[in-house]
Amino acid sequence: MNLRKYLVLLAVMCFGGAGDVLLKRGMKDFGPVDLHNLPHVVAALANPWVLLGIVCLTGFFASYLTALSWADLTYVLPATAMGYVIIAVLSKYFLQEQISQWRWAGILLISCGVGWVTRGPELTERAESKTLIEGKEQHELA
């Protein structure tokens, strides 16, 4: 793992968390959506918070795809779950929501899980990739 890859994982967490919170902020202004009148929800796109949320979620998807291009799914999913923690913290300070002791305990568990998985290898070593790397090294030595 190099700095660029850690930054991509950080972008997944931050963009995902911020996108969800911005959407929630916009939908708070917009009001409840009636399930029987779903097309009405398109009008929410005129809200600047919702638009900013969509921009963040586009950034989330781009960085998620980038992370999946060089790391295992079972590495990326827990590593990016830190986004849930960011949502909880932003909800407390930006949306003034109450965070119960259960939620803080959940945040602690997620942080432990994220810390645990990011200390391991990000990609399953396969025979063909190993051969490729060895071949590259031999070529560089020659």
């Binding site: 291009s69 799914l73 849930y84 259960w102 939620r103 959940g106 994220v114 399953t124």
Partner: protein, 126 residues
């Protein structure tokens, strides 16, 4: 009967979401490191390469199906049950599917992490 309907929708959502993640992961591994591709061929070429991939489009279809299954489940049950159940089950099912279909090396470290995150997500919604 209502409970069976609700859990069927949750199961569909979890399966479709996990299948979408697995397909997406497989497609991105085949396409290669996006950072390197962008440096070599530019951003537009990367976008065309990704959106022209059939497996990527199939993954998007699965994720769209998962989204509508979630909406359906939310209309049948309480958000306080549907959201944690679907989010935390998706973590575990994705790990199992990644091991079976992508042959990822899901060692003890990754199982423990997935379980911690799964329980943590369930607790966040309390």
């Amino acid at each position: 009967m209502n409970s069976l309907k609700l859990w069927s929708a949750i199961a569909l959502m979890v399966l479709a979401s996990s299948a979408g993640d697995v397909l997406l992961s497989s497609a991105m591994k085949r396409i290669g490191d996006l950072g390197e591709l962008r440096a070599r061929h530019g951003l537009l070429a990367v976008i065309f390469r990704v959106f022209g991939d059939k497996q990527f489009l199939l993954a998007l279809t699965c994720m769209t199906f998962a989204f509508f299954s979630l909406l359906t489940a939310l209309s049948w049950g309480d958000a306080s049950l549907v959201a944690p159940a679907s989010a935390s089950l998706t973590f575990l099912v994705s790990a199992v599917m990644a091991k079976i279909f992508l042959h990822e090396d899901v060692d003890r470290r990754r199982w423990i992490s997935a379980t911690l995150v799964c329980v943590g997500v369930a607790m966040l919604t309390q």
